[in-house]
């Protein structure tokens, strides 16, 4: 039984008991219709005040519970969206790795640029702060930026050689970090 329902019953019981006692204690001379009406009215309005106060407390509690449930739902939706974004970034990394392995460097470059944009959006999102504030994230992000610069220069000027296995290694390390964070979110 809820506490407010319990108190409602208590108030009603006290009210009826008080009413019965007052009516029983009335002198025969005072037993008039006007007195009956005024006694019943006084006790009913006093009980009504208490019941109204209990109602207000009930509504307040319900509002708080609803807000907590809403916050929990919002948090869950955020986690789902974050997981989806992390999945997307892992997918882009795998795409880029595939293109690099096939030496389709132009497409790999575009995919890596997509990855950079997505990771930049993580940086601007407060929900991802736990990930983006890690020094490793910054380290891998810098590697990605340098890899992009080197890849762009190589595409324009083949005299400046690049080391593809090293780019793959950087992407692999980033992928592991993102998957780790995703698993942490799912826990």
């Amino acid at each position: 039984m809820n506490w407010y329902r319990f108190f409602t019953y208590i108030i009603l019981l006290i009210s009826f008991t008080t009413l019965a006692w007052v009516l029983w204690a009335l002198k025969p001379a005072d037993r008039t219709l006007v007195n009956y009406v005024s006694i019943i009215g006084s006790i009913a309005s006093t009980a009504g005040l208490f019941l109204a106060y209990i109602q207000i407390l009930t509504i307040k509690e319900e509002t708080q519970k609803t807000r907590a449930r809403l916050d929990a739902s919002i948090h869950q939706v955020q986690r789902v969206l974050m997981t989806a974004d992390l999945d997307r970034s892992v997918k882009i990394i795998q795409d880029a790795q595939n293109y690099l392995n096939q030496e389709k460097l132009e497409i790999a470059y575009v995919r890596m640029k997509d990855l950079r944009s997505l990771l930049l959006s993580f940086k601007g999102n407060a929900d991802f702060q736990k990930l983006t504030n890690q020094s490793l994230f910054h380290h891998y992000f810098t590697d990605l930026q340098i890899d992009l610069d080197n890849l762009k220069i190589y595409l324009l000027d083949h005299s400046r050689k690049i080391n593809l296995p090293r780019i793959l290694q950087h992407l692999e390390a980033f992928e592991v970090q993102l998957i780790d964070f995703e698993n942490e979110l799912k826990r």
Binding site: H138, F141, D143, Q145, I146, N150, R160, K161, I162, R166
Partner: protein, 121 residues
Amino acid sequence: MIPEHFKQLIQKLSEKTKAQCAHWTRTSGENEYKLQLNGGEVITIDKWLDKRQNYRVEMLVYNTESEIVDRLTFTEHDQEFVVLDQFYDVVRRSFFKVDSTFQKIIQEIDNQDNVGFKPVT
């Protein structure tokens, strides 16, 4: 003309690197090295042979947002090339631990009568 802030940076980094106190790593550039500071800034140095068969050396400075904020590039025909090339060499030697390797080799040659591994037959 090398800007004063670059001169200062090169001098301080050379000292740290020679003392093996700067942790340089390789990047995806074939001959490029990177130094990532704890604050998030990054310095890279690269040397390559360009299309006209001239050596070029380049130093880049990235800010904490991984954006290039300044660069220094010279070809071997530039007067200032030597300064940056020497710094590049200091970094390369530090990365491959050239000096300590030579020291170990010379120490072994000095301390042993017979040098070189002889397989037991």
